[in-house]
């Protein structure tokens, strides 16, 4: 491990994007979807998550540290690339480029989102409930910022899931890689819907 440090970090980066970060992303958006069934339903689900035993440990190990590692190495990966979509406009090269663009957008979005919600709740400036999200998302600018942020995050996850399947050697043949492309497209559409649907409820109450 010590002799193959770069190899180990890059594999860990790929793994963490799916487990636990990807799993957490889906769980987070599914729990948010309780908002669609009414503020009480959302508050109940949110307080269940909030009152999980060892919450600080769970948050640190499953969310904060993996995202921090993924983000730091990810920014490095963005910087050692020379994108060439103008010269080589193939589909996968575009996905490669968009993976880097959405990675940066997602980092900005998540930083703001965590500051606005988790940090403010931790500082005692806000309460974890439906009205917190309602007050953020009824501002049209913030609504669209969240729409872009959620779509970018979900794209980064779905396309990252594709490259996870290739980087870990699951999908080797061109045919299997193509089918995984379609499968991750479905993941992108389904998870985006779940995320955007709750944003609409918070913003417009429908």
């Amino acid at each position: 491990m010590a002799e193959h440090r770069e190899y180990f970090y890059r594999r860990l980066h790929s793994l963490l994007g799916v487990i636990p970060i990807g799993i957490f992303l889906i769980q987070h958006l599914v729990v948010n979807h309780f908002a669609v069934y009414g503020p009480e339903s959302f508050n109940k689900a949110a307080s269940f998550m909030h009152d999980l035993p060892f919450r600080i440990v769970l948050e640190t190990v499953i969310i904060f540290l993996p995202i921090l590692f993924h983000a730091i190495l990810g920014v490095y990966i963005v910087f050692v690339t020379r994108n060439n979509i103008k010269r080589y406009g193939f589909f996968r090269n575009w996905m490669f480029y968009l993976q880097r663009v959405t990675g940066i957008i997602t980092l900005i979005f998540i930083s703001w989102h965590v500051w606005e919600t988790r940090v403010q709740i931790g500082l005692g400036n806000a309460d974890l409930d439906y009205s917190l999200m309602e007050s953020i998302l009824t501002n049209p600018f913030m609504f669209w910022f969240y729409v872009v942020g959620v779509i970018s995050t979900v794209f980064h996850f779905a396309n990252g899931l594709w490259s996870f399947m290739v980087s870990w050697g699951f999908a080797q043949s061109p045919r299997s890689q193509k089918i995984v492309t379609y499968a991750t497209l479905i993941v992108f559409l389904a998870v985006s819907y779940i995320g955007i649907r709750s944003l609409i409820t918070f913003a417009y109450g429908v």
């Binding site: 193959h4 594999r11 020379r82 060439n84 996905m95 490259s163 290739v166 870990w168 050697g169």
Partner: protein, 254 residues
């Protein structure tokens, strides 16, 4: 009919490895079925640029002239390819020639592909059979495997896949698709397989297989149609299994 047809070449030139590149235009007499190399040969014969000034002949690299050696790769009208196989009749004019930007320029269109040969050393892309006595015939290879391995053996280290790869550049030490595919070729060989782990360890070193970001340009541009992305995925799988064997221990980690 009196006026002779000409072909216009706009060539990115560079006098030495450290000097600044510049463009020079040449009008070369058209001949039937000419390729980019015969155009360059005409410039060498009569090194006069489009302004009628005498200049130094353009330097380029070539060898086999039948797209199997890989020496004459350059960027032709924006696409990296072999100049011997680039027919003037099939190219849009003016024809723009540039050296491949991924590699250090030696002079004009000649680039230094040493990083590719260093990469082959890193992954030990050979089969060590030298011995002091006759080892007898090696193990047989299944015909089906031979067929796909033969495709990998067509690699001519031409550098086109590295030129197209967004992760092979001056900021990264990624070895590129060609050497990864060669590690797969020699690990597929029944005798080479006996040293399989040594090549996989090479792929796990810095700049190895994890440098790939799956942009998959390489497989689109390879002039030999080598399934480079299949090779990369195969080596991803093999290095993962090897690293688990190394960590947890295995009797089959050779």
């Amino acid at each position: 009919m009196a006026e002779q047809k000409t072909v216009k070449f706009i060539i990115t030139r560079q006098d030495s490895p450290d000097s600044a590149p510049y463009e020079e235009t040449f009008n070369v007499p058209y001949r039937k079925n000419m390729n980019v190399i015969s155009g360059l040969m005409a410039i060498r014969e009569n090194p006069v640029n489009a302004n009628g000034e005498k200049t130094t002949p353009v330097y380029w690299d070539m060898n086999c002239l039948e797209e199997v050696c890989g020496a004459c790769s350059m960027v032709i009208n924006g696409t990296a390819r072999q100049s011997c196989a680039a027919l003037v009749d099939e190219l849009e004019q003016p024809i723009r020639l540039e050296p491949m930007s991924t590699f250090p320029v030696v002079r004009d269109l000649i680039i230094d592909r040493e990083r590719m040969f260093d990469a082959l050393k890193q992954v030990k892309a050979w089969i060590p059979i030298d011995g002091t006595h006759d080892l007898g015939p090696g193990p047989r290879m299944p015909e089906k495997k031979r067929q796909w391995a033969y495709e990998l053996s067509k690699c001519m280290t031409c550098g086109v896949c590295l030129e197209a790869c967004p992760n092979v550049n001056d900021k990264s030490d990624f070895i590129g698709p060609a050497a990864i595919s060669q590690a797969r070729l020699f690990n597929a060989h029944p005798t080479g397989e006996m040293n399989a782990s040594e090549r996989l360890e090479g792929l796990m070193e810095d700049g190895g297989v994890t440098g790939c970001g799956n942009a998959q340009n390489c497989v689109q541009v390879c002039p030999k149609g080598i399934p480079l992305t299949t090779s990369i995925a195969a080596m991803n799988r093999a290095t993962n299994i090897q690293s688990f064997k190394n960590f947890f221990g295995s009797d089959n980690a050779h």
